[in-house]
């Protein structure tokens, strides 16, 4: 066991070292592989434990996993990554739940184990099961297998969830107290599965990244609990690191969009745009055409592109890049203003624009670019909404009040590309659209940008 233990220490040291790398852009790729190497060490160490057997079955499991995991990771599209991460997270939680269940069966309901083994295993089973089913629902919503809008039982939601949780806990307590009927552990797994499903169903598609991060942290915690039950240092350390870092990450993400985790889990908010209504009741918006927009930008000194969720939906990043290239060829300075929570996951815009090979020095973070708008001739907002909403600065009653926004309204003129007058993620109107300096170019972002590009070519 000594060699195994030492290798475990090596393994988790590699995890930590790898994670430290992952937090810096220059070292991130290497950090990821260092952590992967740590995982290799941990697996090999485990296979070295004296008395290991069932080799064929082990190989079978590993082979199936690799056969499924490798191609799906290789083939998934950039924009489908969030749901892929959800799926990978889910199966991790599922594994924990299954192992805990088998442990129960092998030990006759933890009859001969210390109480803490039972408690830790059952905690792992409950959390793992919540994570598995919750992640599946999150996957379904993001993949649009399930409707993205909140599905819930309204005011009954909270009591039902609490009841499910209480039921799961009751099963667990009965087992720890000495009951050993297998029905109890199955009951625990089923109740927590229902809990996972019902907690995630009412959450709007837009809140999903935060929820996935939360489920990720939960899976980490369940792994740590499993480690306590199995007295396995590698599991404890790795699981707890993920549990802690995942919690912080969830918080950072929630904070960046001025939401609180309880509010998100309580659900019901953030169902994405309401029904499109082209013109607002009393106020009017100014419309523009692709040709006008092209002329306006072609003769500008500086243009700032403000991408948002709509650009991701429309997959317009390549078209945007092309448009920007034409503008730059005409001597226009083009920058991209990246709001930290534009899109539906942190770094969403960076990933997309990087995919379209936008030079990195053109991407400016919010703090860096906010002073520039006042010096900018045209700000072109491509499918962004909430991150440009001045209500965040001016209207204390707005749900997004206090969120830092891009000061698009300070630039000399604004062109907004979106399909209609629908609200964004937060479901609030945007006064920017009624600003006399703003012109709307309605239509799918990709189509609109392509039209503008064509017009630019003809100028």
């Amino acid at each position: 066991m000594t060699a195994v233990q030492i290798l475990y220490i090596v393994a988790f040291a590699l995890f930590v070292y790898g994670l430290m790398g992952l937090t810096g852009p220059r070292t991130a790729v290497r950090g990821n592989w260092i952590a992967a190497a740590g995982m290799g060490v941990a697996v090999i160490a485990t296979l070295m434990i004296p008395g290991m057997g069932n080799w064929w079955l082990i190989l079978l499991g590993l082979a199936i996993g690799a056969a499924v995991g490798v191609p799906s990771a290789r083939r998934v599209k950039m924009t489908a990554m969030p749901q892929m991460v959800a799926l990978f997270n889910g199966v991790g939680g599922g594994a924990v739940a299954l192992i805990a269940w088998v442990e129960f069966r092998q030990s006759d309901g933890f009859a001969h184990e210390a109480a803490y083994v039972a408690v830790a295993s059952l905690f792992a089973a409950l959390v793992g099961s919540v994570s598995f089913w919750g992640s599946l629902i999150a996957f379904g919503k993001l993949q649009e297998i399930l409707p993205g809008r909140p599905i819930g039982a309204g005011r009954l939601q909270q009591p039902i969830n609490l009841l499910l949780l209480a039921g799961g806990l009751a099963c667990g307590i009965a087992i720890v107290a000495g009951a050993s009927a297998e029905l109890l552990v199955i009951g625990l797994l089923v109740l927590s599965a229902a809990l996972g499903v019902l907690v995630v169903l009412p959450i709007g598609g837009a809140d999903m990244p935060v929820v996935i991060s939360l489920l990720n942290a939960l899976t980490g915690l369940s792994a740590a609990a499993m480690g306590l039950a199995l007295d396995n240092t590698a599991l404890i350390v790795a699981g707890m690191i993920v549990g802690a870092s995942g919690t912080i990450l969830t918080n950072l993400m929630a904070k960046a969009m001025n939401r609180s985790i309880p509010a998100i889990v309580a659900g019901g908010f953030g169902g994405g745009g309401g029904p499109a209504a082209e013109v607002d009741g009393d106020r009017t918006v100014r419309r523009t055409s692709a040709a006008d927009a092209a002329v306006q930008m072609a003769y500008a000194n500086q243009v700032i592109v403000v991408p948002g969720y709509g650009m991701a939906v429309a997959q317009a990043q390549h078209a945007v890049r092309e448009m920007a290239d034409l503008l730059e060829a005409r001597g226009v300075a083009v920058y991209y203003a990246i709001h930290p929570v534009a899109g539906r996951m942190p770094g969403h815009m960076n990933v997309l624009l990087a995919e379209a090979d936008v030079p990195y020095d053109r991407l400016k973070e919010m703090d860096e670019i906010n002073g520039e708008f006042a010096r900018t001739d045209v700000a072109i907002v491509i499918g962004a909404n909430d991150v440009t909403n001045p209500a965040a600065r001016t209207d204390p009653s707005s749900p997004i009040y206090g969120m830092p926004i891009l000061n698009v309204d300070e630039s000399r003129s604004v062109i907004v590309l979106k399909r209609g007058m629908a609200t964004g993620f937060a479901g609030v109107d945007n006064a920017l659209y009624f600003d006399p300096r703003t012109a709307m170019l309605f239509g799918d972002a990709k189509a609109s940008v392509s039209d503008v590009t064509e017009e630019l070519k003809n100028l």
Partner: protein
């Protein structure tokens, strides 16, 4: 044993907390994905319980599934993270200055 493990648990929690607290926004998603891969370590649990002699067909089937799940989590997680990070390659030098 348990108490030592608790000490390890608490320390690992601090490590997780500290390691994340200075990460740029852009890397949130790859980081989430990377930590996601790491909790695939539950795979070890499956290996131990199966390898040290689980009995019964159902149990064995469940454990093979668990191992497969864990492996998907690990392999898929690291690969996807690498692909995400690949998007930033070549551009990282500018960013590193910040």
């Amino acid at each position: 044993m348990l108490l030592q493990n608790l000490a390890v648990l608490v320390l690992a929690g601090f490590v997780g907390f500290l390691v994340i607290s200075k990460v740029p926004n852009t890397l949130h998603t790859p980081l989430m994905s990377g930590t996601n891969a790491i909790h695939g370590i539950v795979l070890l649990g499956g290996l131990i319980v199966l390898g040290l002699g689980a009995e019964g067909t159902l149990d064995k089937i469940l454990l093979v599934i668990a191992i497969a799940f864990g492996t998907i989590n690990v392999v898929g997680g690291f690969l996807v993270t690498d692909r995400m990070l690949g998007m930033f390659k070549g551009r990282s030098d500018k960013d590193a200055k910040r």
